[in-house]
Symmetry: C2
Subunit: 585 residues, 2 copies
Amino acid sequence: MVTRLSHFFLRTLREDPADAEVTSHRLLVRAGYIRRAAPGIFTWLPLGLKVKARIEAVVREEMGNAGAYEVHFPALLPREPYEASGRWTSYGDGIFRLQDRRGADYLLAPTHEEMFTLLVRDLYSSYKDLPLSIYQIQDKYRDEARPRAGLLRGREFTMKDAYSFDYTDDGQDASYQAQRDAYERIFQRLGLEYVIVAADNGLMGGARSEEFLHPTPVGEDTFVRSAGGYAANVEAFTTVAPDAIPFDGLPTPVIFDSPDTPTIETLVAHSNAVLEGDYSAADTLKNVVLALTHPDGTRELVVVGIPGDREVDDKRVEVAFAPAAVEAATPEDFQRQPLLVKGYIGPWSEQGAILGEESATGIRFFLDPRVVDGTSWITGANIDQKHVHSLVAGRDFASDGFVEVANVRAGDPAPDGSGPVELARGMEIGHVFALGRFFAETLGLKVLDENGKLVTVTMGSYGIGITRILAIIAELNNDDKGLIWPASVAPFDVHVVATGRDAAAFDLAEKLSADLETAGFDVLLDDRPKVSPGVKFGDAELVGVPQIIIVGRGAADGQVELWDRRTGDREVVAATDAVAHLSAR
Amino acid sequence: MVTRLSHFFLRTLREDPADAEVTSHRLLVRAGYIRRAAPGIFTWLPLGLKVKARIEAVVREEMGNAGAYEVHFPALLPREPYEASGRWTSYGDGIFRLQDRRGADYLLAPTHEEMFTLLVRDLYSSYKDLPLSIYQIQDKYRDEARPRAGLLRGREFTMKDAYSFDYTDDGQDASYQAQRDAYERIFQRLGLEYVIVAADNGLMGGARSEEFLHPTPVGEDTFVRSAGGYAANVEAFTTVAPDAIPFDGLPTPVIFDSPDTPTIETLVAHSNAVLEGDYSAADTLKNVVLALTHPDGTRELVVVGIPGDREVDDKRVEVAFAPAAVEAATPEDFQRQPLLVKGYIGPWSEQGAILGEESATGIRFFLDPRVVDGTSWITGANIDQKHVHSLVAGRDFASDGFVEVANVRAGDPAPDGSGPVELARGMEIGHVFALGRFFAETLGLKVLDENGKLVTVTMGSYGIGITRILAIIAELNNDDKGLIWPASVAPFDVHVVATGRDAAAFDLAEKLSADLETAGFDVLLDDRPKVSPGVKFGDAELVGVPQIIIVGRGAADGQVELWDRRTGDREVVAATDAVAHLSAR
């Protein structure tokens, strides 16, 4: 059935919405795809719902091809399963909680690992039932601190989340690979370029985790990649440590006066002056004091020593110390630890170890992987206005282990030996995650194996944010006139615009639209009377259906104009040939 | 793609779920369509989701045919619009409320009139934009006091709710009719017999309201209908009042002793004895004391006078006094009103009016419409152990108006003159409601009319409970072996069962399934190895796909058995003819 703009529920807006921070939000609201209902919560108008349905159809088809079956869990869920997994508490303020009329606790589910695990536990009991992959396309809820960027980070959003269940690690690998392959097909069909990057595998003991990122300079995530094929997000990048250096013949540490040198920059300048060397920031060891808040609420100070030419990376430090929350130490923290002399902190003093194993302070001390045994450093002497040089790792000071907290830089070697990495930015469009046995263990999902022995099931979790994908597609496909949808997800295949006052043009537009529908095209017909051609063309450009046909002055001669929204190319053809032209594209 | 039971996510259960009160709930759980997640909250398994999707597809198609466009509102909504309409409060305990991390109030929407009204207000401004009909298929939430009967009354459920917007009453009539016609087509396609009954039009000033009921003796709703075509639910039935009787020559009231006659039964027996008449309960006026609790919290006692052969109907009294809540008067209420002598209450005493206008008590008094002027009654004398006879309405006592609170009985005349009514039971499957201008007035939805004058829009609201419909279809289509789906909503078109140990049977079943898929059938293939024919047949009967094909012993001879799940008929045909046989059905 041809959709006629004279009746269709659509009103385009001239003005950008006041709260729109990103292009996709601005254009989707202006072109009549979505409306804001509350912060981070949107109403889907007919155009938006059609695009969303087309993306969902692609995802459903490829989930089916991957052998996954669709289910649908409630959004409103009881507290108990989330209590059992610990997430009722660990989500903190990030979820919506409520009570029913009897005072029972519920939440609006932010993700469904617990429920999927319990469902399979309730129904399946034997290795013969596995492997199993099931998924849903469902609305999820997160109480974001600052919902922003329209659909890119909402509080109510649609996700496809799939889960796989296996009783062997090999089986889990195969299930993971099937989803990973499906994701590649999905993003190819949606016209979304992607990079698969290694991701942090989190706290749940998972073996493998990868993100699908769309590379774009405006992406919110940074990732690294080498020409040789390595790719990882910055959290998952692992540093290539140099070989240890023998201690033989290395000079012994010397404390030297270094007034007013609390920063690496001032320390390097001073060192080159008084030591007559050619030192750079990379020769100094920067000791950064962090305050961890553990899940049980206790606060712990730790120090990380990294080469002075590096910074602590917020995302890497978060992953390195999870599940603790990390922040910079406060002035009060320093007051409580007088042995930490701000600006002059080091692992060593002439009296012995200050930080790390068997230290005077009891403060745990972690090192960047580059600080291998035998490397020699200029660093703080734990005395105000004094530093020490020739301090050798492994000989003069020890640590409580290595942590990956220093920032990654272009030129750093990829851990797989595939050469130096470059930094790039991207938007997350999917995530595949070998969860391992955390949820199955916690919630008691076991099956009998071939030998009649109970074994714990291993799971995978695989997510695509449907509404986020839609926003990203909009973010990547537009110009200053409006949206330009890829044909695979456009709300309509063809937008027929009848212009002028000539009834013949409207009659021809009607006939052409009917022919297009018969040929299998989904047609939007702008048959609004008394609306100027300029307004109609502007609306067509804003709405962004990829193929536009103008039926106007040439109608009397049986001619129409094909207008490619993306290239801007226009071509006059006989109306009788229009269907064939479009079918050939 | 053929769906194979060897991999499909399905586990049928031998036992009925402990909490299942109704057949649909019992069978949908046992056959693997749904699982309980919390009281009144269900998870949809693949089979259930497929049936639900098919029902939704029928509804979508007919909404499209009715010229309605699909939108989708959030489930999580801010308080403000519901505060403006008064429903934030009036829903009482019936909705789920929550707060976000900033303390802002939200609710899980039980229905969306407010949001639809605001959306149209924000986008439309002219009569030229109307009429408009928009709808959504969306999950809704109600915190039922006692969620029960599985999907028939859940706390999370899926509804199709449509809303129409017009600026004239004629336009509203046409929009209403278009939805009503669509409902008829939907229920016909779903194989659901229906009766359209007049319904109470509620508090919102609506002009017209009708329910679609499926007539069934196990229905939870009572409705009345006449052979002449009248149909209404009991709340909407209006009594035909007899003509008034001239007062001339009517005897004057006489008080008489009536010891120990606090009930109608004892009163009638006593009256016939002492008055030497032939009275029945219909000759007595029963005065029932009710306690109303108004929305502002105030409590008011009222009395209703109805013929002694009728009872106060709970549903009718609720509608009659809405928005007040109604309950029977308590002993404390009687203590506070000593003029009300329990068992002997009447509108009149020798001192004057006891109830009604200008009464001594100030208590409002309402009459059944049958108590017209000139009718003569035996009723209480407001003196313990005394009644009065020959008390004439309109002459000896007055009232504050008529109310429809007495029960409806088979044989009562239909208000449209179409003859006596009978009582029947049904299940509500749809509701069409001319809302009028309540929401538009409250939320400021006005448009400019042809004369440039601002006019308030008139709305309609039209609902179908998708998950409820699914349960009703299951409730009506089953036998002692399991479900029997109508073809229009079955999860699969054909269930092919391969039995025996003969590889030839499995090969033939595979080939036949592929042929059926090619011919356009959606096929479920039971290819489970090492499962006995008995278990496979039992599962096929429980799951309820309407057409079953058994591929077993006859496979070697190229023969299969067609099994009609509803009739039980079995027929052996050549496998090569099976597709043609099914296509012909």
